[in-house]
Symmetry: C2
Subunit: 765 residues, 2 copies
């Protein structure tokens, strides 16, 4: 396997410029702060292959749905993640010649993302017959303290001669989307202003009227002392900049510090965004690069303190997991309940929309365990706020209750393939499951009374209208669905879907019992609001009692769907290597009629409803399904890995873990250039904490069953649990647990109860 990055515990490093793989490096070197983000592009112009990308959270474009055969119920648009004003731009001219690393001769080049401190730095030396050597250092970060602020420090040191240097800091709104089928521009200019040392460019989207105002301000220093140069003003449509020209003296460092602020009408009134972005940039400018940076690093320290995983004895594994945690923290910060976790985050434009079931199924556990309760609560509130739209969506399909969209930006469905949009309805159960998961983790049952119950009821109503009663068999069935395994479409009775639907109804009934007991007043209020009747509840119970589950009797295994066993049963290991990945080598119909599974489906159910199944059942199903699974979704191996850990298949668990751990860093799926697989990064975290760490929550108690993979000397992770911060360190000899915050905590370790006040050390064996 080709190695792109040097192994390093805290950094992602490119040594020497690799123009042929530049997009891969750009993706991996993306920065984000929840409010905005960008790929690891250069500040100065680059004529080589590059995908320039700047993204503002929540700003998107509704692209018209175009399909061959229009089906009733299709959404009208696809929500495109939108490339926005490029604000990092600083062109450099040396002796009136533009620096372009695709053409300029380079003596040395290094591009680094420091994950501990959250910045991107490039250090390079260019060389020219005329002016000799110049050392360049460009460092930037997007503040996680003031998320509307970015700062860049760009330094040049002439080694051999005095040279004429021009810096051209600019804002460029003349951008388009990489994945656009046509060359349409999505932005028009609202306003621009440019002066010496400062400028503003305000753009709006052609549809949906998103306004984004970007301001810049800069200063120029020589060896840390302010200097002046001659300034030309650049004022063009959709483009503002300064050209500041001065003499770079031999051996002295000239630095341009560029400060940027980005505001949108998502947060302020349209009439105010320019004023506010100018204020923010002035604030940043006055604070200065160093002080902004120190605050930023302090904030990162706190994030790492809560979420770091340390692996001893395997630098690549260490780098891989930190890379994942770093990007999860860059993508979603949880302070805006209108936002969610896009599949590519701020690292690319592929796939539309920002919210998939990935959020509830894969990402929530990470934020539950590593961040304040409010963060994960906001992920739930996001869906609560979309309840009305989910109800409209169900109605559009002729169904009752709420059907949450497969892909969305604002609560509306924006995916348009019938087998997914209309049929991959299991996503609805993940929304309910997230409520259950949140409550059991945080113990915050009030959430049910306040928000959760309404969502549970409407989803239960959806299931009730979506099942169909088969009078021949006296069973309820769910026909025409696509399960998590998208390599089967339009099947009947997907075991996972039926199981989760029934669980969902059962949980809603449980919550009713709880509310009746603990929140009687509120319950009565909700009962009236929702028009709940006893008949309706009886119907739910009837469906629970008579749900049909496909089953393979001969081997005592849950059948993925009706007719799965009619497929020819071949194992992945018996496939020719050249056939893999199937999705690149087989026609779609061949994939569909094969027994091969894209991602955890029955196993997803065993993971979610972990308590309902004994180890033997998990083992039998794992033994049957894992050899048939091609893991061609990045979300697959983590679930299998966790179950493998649980049933004692330690080597298998580790092998599966490796498939996602460095997915993007090692460009495993040959698609890192499009951006990173943000949501699956949470799966990797789960493989360690829920898998190797064996973490579960049962009856309000944190349970751990750790083991260490053979390849590692030691690993440790941190868990925030109900206000307590716990560090868990595991080696082959012992488990060390430290309560880093909190007074005391009772846990179950290897099924034995301990109360930890400070530290606990247990010898294994």
């Amino acid at each position: 396997m080709k190695k792109y990055f040097h192994a390093d515990e805290w950094s992602i490093i490119e040594e020497g410029l690799h123009p042929e793989d530049n997009r891969i490096y750009e993706s991996a070197m993306s920065l984000g702060n929840g409010h905005m983000g960008m790929r690891g592009n250069f500040e100065e112009s680059y004529s080589g292959d590059s995908h320039q990308g700047t993204y503002i959270a929540g700003v998107y474009y509704p692209d018209k749905t175009r399909v061959g055969w229009w089906k009733n119920g299709y959404p009208e648009y696809f929500a495109k993640v939108l490339n926005a004003t490029n604000f990092i731009g600083i062109d450099i001219m040396i002796d009136d010649e533009k620096i372009d690393l695709a053409k300029t001769k380079i003596k040395y080049f290094k591009r680094v993302v420091n994950m501990k401190k959250g910045y991107l730095e490039r250090i390079f030396t260019i060389i020219d017959d005329k002016y000799g050597e110049l050392i360049v250092n460009a460092k930037r970060f997007l503040s996680i303290v003031d998320t509307e602020v970015a700062a860049i420090s760009y330094s040049i040191t002439p080694v051999n001669h005095d040279v004429k240097i021009s810096f051209i800091p600019y804002l460029d709104g003349n951008i388009s989307n990489e994945d656009s089928n046509y060359s349409e521009k999505f932005w028009t200019e609202v306003d621009r202003a440019i002066n010496e040392y400062k400028g503003n460019l305000t753009m709006k989207t052609k549809k949906l009227d998103f306004h984004v105002s970007t301001s810049m301000k800069y200063s120029v220093l020589e060896d840390n002392n302010s200097i002046n140069g001659t300034i030309d003003i650049i004022d063009q449509e959709k483009f503002v900049g300064n050209k500041i020209t001065l003499t770079g003296k031999k051996g002295r460092t000239v630095t341009l510090n560029k400060y940027i602020a980005v505001t949108t009408n998502r947060d302020y009134d349209k009439s105010e965004i320019i004023k506010i972005s100018n204020e923010r940039v002035t604030y940043a400018y006055n604070k200065g690069f160093e002080e902004l940076f120190i605050e930023h690093v302090d904030a990162w320290d706190k994030r790492w303190e809560a979420s770091d995983i340390v692996i001893e004895g395997d630098t690549e594994a260490q780098q891989g997991i930190r890379f994942n945690i770093f990007h999860l923290n860059q993508t979603y910060t949880g302070d805006d309940p209108r936002l969610n976790i896009g599949p590519k985050g701020f690292t690319g434009e592929k796939y539309g929309g920002s919210t998939y079931w990935d959020t509830e199924a894969y990402c929530l556990p990470f934020y539950l365990s590593t961040a304040n309760e409010d963060i994960s609560k906001n992920l739930l509130i996001y869906r609560y706020n979309h309840l009305e739209k989910a109800k409209e969506n169900a109605k559009k399909l002729g169904l009752n209750g709420a059907l949450y969209p497969m892909v969305t930006m604002n609560g509306e469905e924006c995916h348009n393939e019938w087998e997914i949009t209309f049929e991959e309805i299991h996503r609805n159960a993940a929304i309910s499951y997230a409520i259950y998961n949140f409550v059991r983790y945080t113990g915050d049952s009030n959430y049910l009374a306040e928000y959760g119950f309404e969502v549970l009821v409407e989803i239960s109503r959806f299931w009730t209208s979506r099942v169909n009663y088969n009078s021949y068999k006296d069973k309820y069935m769910i026909l025409g669905v696509t399960g998590p395994n998208e390599y089967d479409n339009n099947v009947n009775n997907n075991w996972y879907t039926n199981t989760m639907a029934s669980w969902n109804l059962e949980y809603t009934l449980e919550v009713i019992a709880y509310l009746k007991k603990e929140h009687m007043l509120r319950y009565t209020e909700l009962e009236n609001k929702l028009n709940l009747t006893e008949d309706e509840l009886s119907k739910w119970q009837d469906i629970i009692n008579k749900m049909y589950y496909p089953y393979i009797e001969s081997i005592n295994v849950f059948e993925q769907q009706d007719g799965y066993m009619d497929k020819e049963q071949i194992l992945v290991k018996d496939l020719p290597k050249a056939d893999l990945p199937l999705n690149q080598n087989w026609s779609w119909d061949r994939i569909l009629r094969s027994c091969f599974i894209k991602q955890a489906d029955v196993l997803q159910g065993l993971y979610f409803l972990n308590d309902m199944y004994d180890l033997e059942t998990k083992k039998r199903n794992f033994d049957f399904y894992e050899p048939r699974t091609v893991h061609e979704s990045s979300l697959s191996p983590c679930v299998y890995s966790i179950i493998a850990s649980e049933i004692g298949y330690e080597d298998k668990a580790y092998e599966l873990y490796l498939r996602t751990a460095r997915l993007d860093l090692d460009n495993y799926n040959n698609d890192t250039e499009d951006g990173l697989h943000i949501t699956s990064m949470a799966g990797t975290w789960m493989s360690i904490v829920h898998g190797f760490g064996g973490m579960r929550i049962k009856d309000n108690t944190l349970c751990l069953n750790p083991f260490i993979p053979k390849a590692w000397d030691e690993f440790s992770f941190k868990i925030l649990f109900r206000g307590n911060l716990l560090k868990v360190k595991v080696s082959s000899e012992k488990v060390f647990i430290k309560l880093e915050k909190g007074d005391y905590l009772s846990i179950l370790l290897y099924d034995k109860k301990y109360t930890i006040c400070d530290e606990l050390i247990i010898d294994i064996n």
Copy 2:
């Protein structure tokens, strides 16, 4: 129901102009001659709503496939039926003012297609304060004798005053497609020439390099005597014409006869098409309008002689069936084996491609019974010629043998929805069935040795690689298919598909036995060419023996597919009226999981393999499936009608017949404006001949079991059978059969054998 056309036995008549429904009239008044065709547009400019359409057989455009999620195996393009040079154009100016029936005052208007003689005529009177009344008569036809030739006779008679008249005959290549998503033009000019009285415009398509050369020549007469006028030449890019101005004298008729010839590089070398189209147009000009017309009418007489159906006592039914026969004969003449029967013929642009399984399943029987054997043979040769492409198509999907495309122009697949393109594989069986049908009808077994066998073998190989052996059940299954009923997608074991696949293998084995006996040398040759082995044949036999057929035991009915009975069983009659048609009112997933059937599926099998099932079986299956069928394909009711006729459900048969008989004339599906449903017209013919007439072929013998619908007094149809032309006339009292051509013919009538030399009259009851 709104009535668009006056009932008339031989004509399609619009009385008075109906601008709001103009597109419907244009569709219904289309003319075609197999080589080219056009909608019933006006010769003179019309600024009202209109869809100008001229189409040249076999000339198309490959439009790029654009889908959301690209699936391996998708074709690269969709074959667009292409609008070509408008050659009917004759603009009229009276006293320098353009006639435009959307603006000019009309006193009288009539538009008529005479189906007996194959022409379109408009007679109208315009009126103006200045010049008083003018009577206009415009008549045109596309010669079915010289299919490259068209002729128009355009006459104007001033009633009140002498008036200045200008005729502007032209050729316009500046056209675009109605159904285009973007305003792209598909044609560029190759050459143009314009002189007095004649011109040529030669265009080529931007892709695939189709060249079409159109020539015109004209003469002007006054009361049948040649006169001259002043001539201006119009010579613009993609447009050539003359403006001829003269005085129209009160009470005298001025006539412009325009002759057109259209040649393409499909038939001649590119370098020759201009010369040849000029020669052709000169030939037509020299012959003159009247003589061309007489030849044309004679040829139509012959066509009607062979294919007419006469219905007494029901003028609308008479008009309906003649309309269908007329358009079938206009669309396909069978003299070019590269052509086929497009779903819209020459009447519109909706749907791409020209060939669907409609040809083999619905159209072939019509041409077999009403035209020379060569015509239907050419339909078969068309597929034989595409065998190599069908093999490539199968290979692309990872399968052996040949998979014929769902939609095609030149043998390549050009449809791109996975559930259709990849899964609606039953189409392959229709190709084999057509061979079987042709041979049993014509008795031409040599076709098997010459062409048919290779196709049968390669299709058999396809089935062999597409089935999958289920070792648990010791059965062969066909998973992941879409049957004829497209309201179920990606199902397992569609009964029709499994049945036809097995039949297909069996027939191939029968043909082998026949060839071994009758064509041993040729068989040995083919055996070597095709690499046939005994093992392969045994495999086929094994599949036949162990094919799995879904079955509903409780009611002794074939199950449409696995799991069909798990659907909620509701009947169409119990649906709210407002829900119909389902495809306009229900979301796609709801349609898919419902029990409702779009078109004959199990019943299609009972129709094709008619001999294999007894009446009771047909009855049971009809009784079960018909009440569940919404007939939302125009191809559905005819098959049900035929089976209803056979099992004695005469009223039901007639009711179903009515659903297609006047589908387009009565705009039943509210889509006549897009063009006509050409292929389903053959289904209507079948409903009468195979249904009411009870026509079958068994053991080389023509069988008839006629009955007459209560609403009719008498009906008669003609059948060409192995060189004999038979007229069959049925009333409620008797059946009259006349051998109009041929020496004698033995037939089975009501299961009794008769040998007819001249006439046969049998009393019913």
